[in-house]
Amino acid sequence: MKKLLMAAALAAMATGASAEDVKLQLKWVTQAQFAGYYVAQAKGFYEEEGLNVTILPGGPDIAPTQVIAGGGADVVVDWMPSALAAREKGLPLVNIAQPFKSSGMQLTCLKESGVETPADFKGKTLGVWFGGNEYPFLNWMAKLGYKTDGSPDGVTVLKQGFNVDPLLQKQAACISTMTYNEYWQVIDAGITPEQLVNFNYTTEGVATLEDGLYVLEEKLADPAFVDTMAKFVRASMKGWKYAEENPDEAAMIVLENDETGAQTEAHQKRMMGEIAKLTAGSNGALDEADYQHTVDALMAGGSDAVITKAPEGAWTHAVTDKALAN
């Protein structure tokens, strides 16, 4: 504990040069999934609050949890299963806001591979991303009673890359997709929705909370930090609501911020449309029932459970209460 405190103190020294500087580490590359933050930046919502926000894009080998532990960011976008798992590993992350109300994760299968219900998974090869994104999947498999070690009664799990090729090349019967990204890549590739079977995590009752904002617990002891975060969350949520109402403009703002120059307008506009469905209904404050649902889902896996004991203090309304007060 002492070590962590010291690490956090060092991190605070490294990053807290000016109280109003905020560094946000995204979970993945610049895309409409993070439109709210880019909109808040471009529309000057952060500036209005007196914040100087730096948005750091992620990538396949960037774990937001590691970045924040290393003091590389003040606040990170992460999925709750990954954040709770990190918490159990000794990195006390706290959810301060939850802009995403619903889960966009699904398992997409080719009909021709003979999968129609979860009972058909047996003996099939299923793809999932790793690096913190595997928890909802592993948890679902545990709930279904499938072993994930490739034994004949279980399923064979593939670490899928960053695209949908395993499905197109028929290397896997099903792959993980997000409603706003990979699913449309499958469609774009020329496969029709009728040829696919989708298992949505929400309908299967195994949904967990996705993109939320997390900070280190120690830093919340400082009222000034809470205050800064309140401003940040308020401006970010303003950005999100603006993006929901003006999806095309939001997509263009994201495109302007894409430094690889490889994203396309069509992709981002469509992604924004799908993202808006997921952020709808959230004012930023974490819904305690949703949180409890995620925790219950993650602990249901028995011996393979993602987290072994109910986390305490893994979320706070302190920031959102302040942010939404006026």
């Binding site: 490294a14 590359v29 990538g59 590389g72 020329g190 496969i191």
Partner: protein
């Protein structure tokens, strides 16, 4: 020029094989799609369809060339969609890593040649260091450097590039600094030359051919390091990042074009280093 014809022949062979591969690898998708829609395709239709897919398993050369041309000349070089812009980012990282690698390699080589203890302790570990997959260290290098207050994405990338490029310099310089034979060393001793003078007047000049020979290897290693550094970490700008985005968003053409842009960059760097090498050799009076 004597080699031109053979090279062109081989290249032609590669292109023919490539087209054959395109048909072979992309045909599965054409047949699958036909089956899904319940139609059949003739052989010639199939071949035509393999040449122009949106996400081919193996894009035919002309598709790659078109994408490459679009990336290189399709827009202003300052545009984020320009491969020249991304090539420049990668070039910058490569040169930083190259410079760091040379400094580290030369300094270490000097210490190793001067101090026996360095030779015995460090040399085996220098070899072992190259067997560590640097990509595995990349995320940690980034986190650690941000922890130490080193901002920006250039430095971590340059460290990875330097990590790969210092080794060939080190090995060649150790060999080069040791290349003067006993007779030459004895001669300098009879002149009453001290350690410093021996180093400056004999060892250093003697090591130069070795040094320049190692640069070609080092620059290639540095480019690989930079691209590897851009590939998984940050994925923000540079040719490596574009390869990654191409892969992630199912745009194989972007990936292939970046790959060839990287090849062109590699070719230019090697030619440039070769030119410097020849220039230096001529000035130092080395024949050949």
């Amino acid at each position: 020029m004597r080699n031109l014809l053979p090279i062109l022949t081989i290249l032609a062979g590669i292109i023919v094989l490539w087209y054959a591969g395109t048909v072979w690898l992309n045909s599965a998708w054409v047949y699958d799609q036909a089956q899904r829609t319940g139609t059949t395709v003739s052989f010639s239709e199939m071949v035509a369809q393999t040449m122009d897919q949106d996400r081919p398993v193996l894009p035919p050369p002309h598709q790659v060339a078109a994408e490459l041309g679009k990336g290189l000349f399709g827009q202003a070089v300052t545009s984020k969609r320009s491969l020249i812009y991304h090539g420049y980012v990668t070039f910058k990282g490569t040169m930083m890593g190259f410079g760091l690698g040379i400094i580290a390699g030369v300094l270490l080589a000097m210490a190793i040649v001067r101090f026996r203890v360095m030779d015995m302790s460090v040399m085996p570990w220098a070899i072992i260091s190259q067997t560590i997959p640097i990509v595995a260290l990349a995320p940690m290098i980034i986190t650690l450097s941000s922890r130490l207050g080193l901002e920006g994405r250039d430095l971590p990338k340059a460290i990875i590039a330097a990590y790969l490029s210092f080794f060939p310099v080190l090995v060649s310089m150790v060999k080069g600094l040791r290349s003067p034979d006993q007779m030459q060393l004895d001669l300098l001793k009879t002149y009453g030359a001290g350690e410093m003078a021996t180093f400056l007047k004999l060892r250093l000049p003697a090591s130069m051919p070795y040094f320049f020979a190692s640069l070609k290897v080092a620059i290639a290693a540095s480019l690989v390091g930079t691209i590897v550094g851009e590939l998984p970490t940050g994925a923000i700008e540079g040719l490596g990042a574009r390869m990654l985005i191409g892969s992630q968003f199912g745009e194989p053409l972007i990936m292939w074009a970046s790959l060839f842009a990287a090849a062109i960059l590699a070719g230019m760097l090697i030619v440039a280093v070769g030119f410097v090498e020849r220039l230096a050799r001529r000035r130092m009076g080395v024949p050949g």
